[in-house]
Amino acid sequence: MELKFKEVIIEALEIEDREILMSDKFKEFEEWDSLAQLTLIAELDDQFGVTIQSEDFKKIQTLQELFDHIQKVQ
């Protein structure tokens, strides 16, 4: 599932040209903005059937935290 999760992140943020680590703080990515956030939330909903509430999303910093949250609520 981690592999699929990373694929979704790469696809949503259009960062096919580089490696990502689960420890990455994705909100610090150069590509990150409000539109990227909407795209990511929609893609995660599509691919994992998980709707992330904005309050929860605000607290999440790293990809690992995002991944853990998805597993928890799935």
């Binding site: 409000s34 539109l35 990227a36 909407l38 795209t39 929609a42 893609e43 599509d46």
Partner: protein, 256 residues
Amino acid sequence: MRSHNPFTLTGKTILITGASSGIGQGIAVACASQGAKVLLLGRDLERLKETIALCENGCDHGMISLDLADDTKIKEEFESFVKPYAPIDGFVHAAGISPTIPFKVMKKNQVLETFQLNLFSAITLIQTLSKSALKSSEGMSMVMISSVMSEVGEKGKSLYAMTKAAMVGMVKSLALEYADKNIRFNAISPSVINTPLSLKSEYRKDDAAMKLVQSQHPLGLGEIEDVANAAVYLLSDASKWATGTNMIVDGGYLAR
């Protein structure tokens, strides 16, 4: 000096959608203050009652709770509601939603839902209102609340912009199609207005984003009354020679 005030709406009956809040509510209040009987259409009857309470001559007005997402219901219920109030002199379609959806993840159901509320519902209402039995012998004025997004783009707003640009396109053709029936069609395209909904926008929480939005509006951000006053003009006899137009009310946003 003329005794007749061409800007008055006295004696006119105006139907307004989206009247339970924001721009629709402001238009209802402005129309009533200019002497019109207003017929309010919205989802929530309690909130429509709040609008009626803000209107002058509250007891003269009418309201109907109707979900514009449901076209079948509009067809079933709207005509019987509006018939006792005929003739109708004006219509304002202020109902609508403004989703922010990245194009990449846009779904067909989101497209259909937004078009239904912003445009398709207006089509059904206009088709009913333009029937000769409902129309005033002195003509009719139909006003669509569009947006500056009908003219320019914004990231994440492609769906909203599609509906608002389509609305302006519709207005121009209907102006020609209905001119011989003395029905005028015009759009109003506001930019950022201080509505309860826009006050909750993401950019309002970000100082830099808010400063940027403000700097794009030489006259500052708009108030509901700025759009409502434009609507009053287009509904009144003062605009009897105006049809097929898109009135930009944007504090200078599109001027540069």
